[in-house]
């Protein structure tokens, strides 16, 4: 009967489809082939069988319309099943189902990549074969859509996404759909709408799972930010942004979705936690979100990722951070976070962004808390109590500080990032100033120590002060920072900064602008530890920065923090120490906190955190005149070679 199906050529897609569907079965194993044939017959399909792929191809080539579906075994002596699969897909565009006794993930993946509609495991059961007709239908639909130009699909998706897909032309439908889906998904993620198949999509860049999507790197994001700032957030329309950015290959949709994410992250720092998890990725959006959900972020390993990613980027994107920071500040704390597009290279920015947004609105302490929380995610042992940053008022600075110290502590334990937070939290907790000081040293030390090392994430959470101290001290060694025990004197900043190449300068500016940074930095601090060894320095810096702020203006601390944050090398740690020492001087709980916070933030973002921290502290210390002084120092510190 095998030939009959072929010769008769009766209508397959007739009324009783799927009955009568013409299937070509290929398998070198006669037993399996016979079984398959009978199973298919049982499903009322027309079956043609052959044990040779070559013959199968011949038959297919003879008359493409002879068959609706091909089922082929994978292991065949004359021709690899995958090759056959490819050929059929290329030449005849028929749906092909793979069969195999081997269900390894790699093989299945290979099948999918080669274009298989489905991958079935031997032994075949009739239930599995009963539904294979769906592939035929699907293929037909896809073809039709492809021809039509899929405007409808796109429109639908666009509408759903809420983005006007004006540019939807008859591009490659697949790409469009992909983009739209991605866009939609992103938007959905933000809004918690139904998600597409990519469940993990939650703010995450599905770079690996899905087909290649447009990636927002640091450079692009910076341009984006520039454009947005230029236009003003309210007047930022995708088309205009696109024009301003003037990037080849960038489409309006890319910009639109990016903008949406950015906006959303600006609006909802609290929800960023969602994205935090993904923060680990280079997804800028995530980073943005991280601010809000910093606490969550911390808990999320993602933060770690982010930190690591951000850290390096921080170093590299020092300038970026700075500019971003400023731009961020301008636009809004949050926006900065939102601006954290997945810039792999500029993770820091990303970090910054989140920090900004997160902190922008909350009190510094709050931020600090957040950071502590974040830190604390890293280390379960973090005194979550402290860590949990909730809106902290100044009075609760102490608490914040404690959380900071916790954070610092935590961070140190795991990573530099956590370190910072731990420090800050610890410091805060134990004592306002004194603690801070201790912490600072500790933190610095801690920072420096493995805690920064992302690899040390395994370290126990039992962060202890001594560790922090050590780290802090280490940090001191890292740079001359330690020497700058004096209140954020310019030297401190300068030296430190230069060494740390902190974006301190940027921070300084941040200070002025908004405290957002601080909080973000705090957050940053947390992740920083995790990821980057650099973080160590950052932490130290952060701590220092926080210390500074305490003593003087937030800005000063930030400066240190910044310097701390930016230190990409381990040498940065010493700065932290300085920071701490400064804090001591100030013995200002709040300052401490702020320092901590900034440290944290710093830690997290290497660069960002500091900025954030500083900005945070700045904000916090709005009242303090010192901040102004600090800032000056900060600026001086900006020297930091990056």
């Amino acid at each position: 009967m095998t030939a009959e199906g072929r010769l008769v050529g009766e209508e397959v897609s007739g009324d009783d489809f799927p009955a009568g569907m013409r299937v070509l079965a290929v398998d070198d194993d006669k037993t399996c082939l016979k079984l398959l044939e009978n199973l298919l017959r049982k499903c009322n399909y027309h079956v043609t069988t052959t044990t040779e792929s070559v013959k199968a191809l011949e038959m297919l080539r003879e008359n493409r319309n002879m068959f609706d579906l091909v089922i082929s075994d994978v292991n065949m002596p004359d021709m690899d099943g995958f090759k056959l699969l490819e050929q059929v897909g290329l030449e005849m565009d028929l749906p092909v189902i793979m069969l195999s006794g081997n269900g390894d993930k790699e093989r299945v993946m290979k099948g999918v990549i080669h274009g298989a509609c489905d991958y079935l495991m031997k032994p075949i059961r009739i239930e599995e074969l009963q539904n294979i007709w769906q592939h035929v239908v699907r293929k037909k639909i896809d073809c039709k859509d492809h021809n039509k130009g899929t405007n409808t699909n796109e429109d639908k998706i666009c509408n759903m996404a809420g983005v006007c897909s004006q540019d939807i032309t008859s591009e490659n439908i697949d790409n469009k759909n992909k983009m739209l889906r991605q866009k939609r998904k992103e938007q959905s993620d933000e809004e918690d709408d139904e998600e597409e198949d990519n469940d993990e999509e939650n703010g995450e860049e599905p770079s690996t799972r899905k087909k290649p999507r447009f990636v927002w790197d640091a450079e692009l994001h910076r341009k984006f930010l520039d454009a947005v700032n230029q236009l003003g957030l309210d007047k930022a329309f995708p088309k205009k942004i696109l024009d301003l950015m003037n990037v080849e290959g960038l489409t309006r949709e890319n910009v639109a979705s990016h903008l949406q994410k950015y906006r959303l992250s600006l609006k909802r720092p609290a929800k960023q936690a969602r994205i935090d998890g993904t923060l680990g990725t280079t997804d800028p959006y995530l980073q943005m979100g991280s601010l809000g959900g910093y606490g969550d972020f911390c808990t999320l390993s993602g933060s770690r990722r982010i930190l690591s990613s951000t850290l390096p980027s921080y170093a590299s994107s020092e300038i970026f951070c700075r500019s971003n920071a400023s731009s961020l500040l301008n636009s809004r704390g949050i926006s900065s976070s939102t601006l954290v597009p997945p810039l792999q290279s500029q993770n820091i920015n990303a970090l910054k962004l989140p920090m900004f947004s997160a902190y922008e609105n909350s009190s510094f302490l709050q931020r600090i808390r957040a950071s502590t929380e974040i830190n604390h995610f890293q280390q379960n042992n973090y005194p979550t109590g402290n860590m949990k940053l909730s809106p902290i008022d100044d009075s609760s600075a102490f608490a914040v500080s404690s959380s900071l110290s916790d954070i610092i502590r935590a961070t140190t334990i795991n990573n530099a990032n956590s370190y910072l937070s731990c420090f800050s939290s610890n410091h805060l907790q134990t004592h306002n100033s004194g603690a801070f000081m201790n912490h600072s040293s500790v933190g610095g030390a801690a920072v420096k120590s493995e805690s920064f090392n992302p690899g040390t994430s395994g370290s126990s959470n039992s962060f202890d002060y001594s560790r922090i101290k050590e780290s802090l001290q280490n940090a001191a060694q890292l740079s001359n920072f330690a020497s700058n025990s004096s209140p954020l004197s310019e030297d401190f900043n300068n030296d430190q900064l230069s060494q740390n190449s902190l974006k301190f300068s940027s921070h300084g500016s941040h200070f002025q602008k908004s405290p957002i940074d601080f909080s973000s930095s705090r957050v940053v601090a947390v992740p920083l530890e995790e990821t980057m060894p650099c973080q160590e320095g950052l932490l130290g810096n952060v701590v220092k920065a926080s210390c500074y702020t305490q003593h003087q203006n937030m800005s000063s601390t930030f400066n240190t923090l910044n310097s701390l944050a930016s230190p990409n090398e381990d040498t940065q740690l010493p700065e932290v120490e300085n920071l701490y020492s400064d804090a001591r001087i100030e013995s200002n709980d709040d300052c401490f906190l702020q320092h901590m916070i900034s440290l944290e933030g710093f830690v997290q973002n290497n660069c960002v955190s500091l900025d954030d921290i500083i900005s945070e502290t700045v904000k916090k210390d709005q009242n303090e005149t010192k901040s102004i002084d600090r800032e000056k120092e900060f600026d001086a510190c900006k020297v930091g070679p990056k």
């Binding site: 070198d28 194993d29 006669k30 037993t31 399996c32 016979k34 079984l35 009978n38 199973l39 049982k42 075994d73 292991n75 002596p77 006794g101 081997n102 031997k122 032994p123 075949i124 059961r125 009739i126």
Partner: protein
């Protein structure tokens, strides 16, 4: 005289014992499903095919393992095939040994391969005789039971 019912019961019991002992698994039921009036000898045909295939494969394995330089990849390919066909008809025990055999091939464990080959041959012989008995008992060879006797087990 043996009542037909008794015979039938014995048949059923025999079949289930095969399942219980692991000679057969659910896949065999699938085969039985496919046998109907339009396809009255399906199971026998498929299993016979399996016997032919298996013997060919076993000979091939033996030959490969007899070489000085064993080409484990080739052996593995053969075992893989046997694994596929045995699983398709539900010869569970053979299938299991095939899996172990494949592991040995991957490890290039000559000892293990030889051992597995022996095991497979054993299992194969066993299951073959079981099948033959089953066919006889079930009358698929149409040589045992009188005509018109309806077999109980869902034929």
């Amino acid at each position: 005289m043996y009542s037909v019912a008794l015979l039938q019961r014995q048949l059923v019991e025999y079949t289930s014992s095969l399942f219980q002992e692991g000679f057969l698994d659910g896949q065999f039921n699938q085969l039985q499903l496919l046998q109907d009036e339009s396809n009255p000898n399906f199971v026998v045909e498929v299993v016979t095919l399996f016997f032919e295939d298996a013997e060919r494969l076993l000979n091939g394995m033996e030959k490969e393992l007899g070489h000085d330089n064993i080409d484990f990849k080739r052996v593995d390919a053969l075992v893989h095939q046997l694994k596929g066909s045995s699983s398709s008809i539900g010869a569970q025990r053979v299938h299991r040994v095939c899996i172990a055999f494949r592991n040995y091939c991957e490890e290039k464990n000559t000892e293990g391969c030889f051992k597995s080959l022996q095991e497979i041959k054993q299992e194969y012989t066993l299951v073959k005789s079981k099948f033959e008995t089953l066919f006889k008992v079930r009358g698929w060879n149409k040589s045992f039971l009188p005509q018109g006797v309806q077999l109980l087990d869902g034929e």
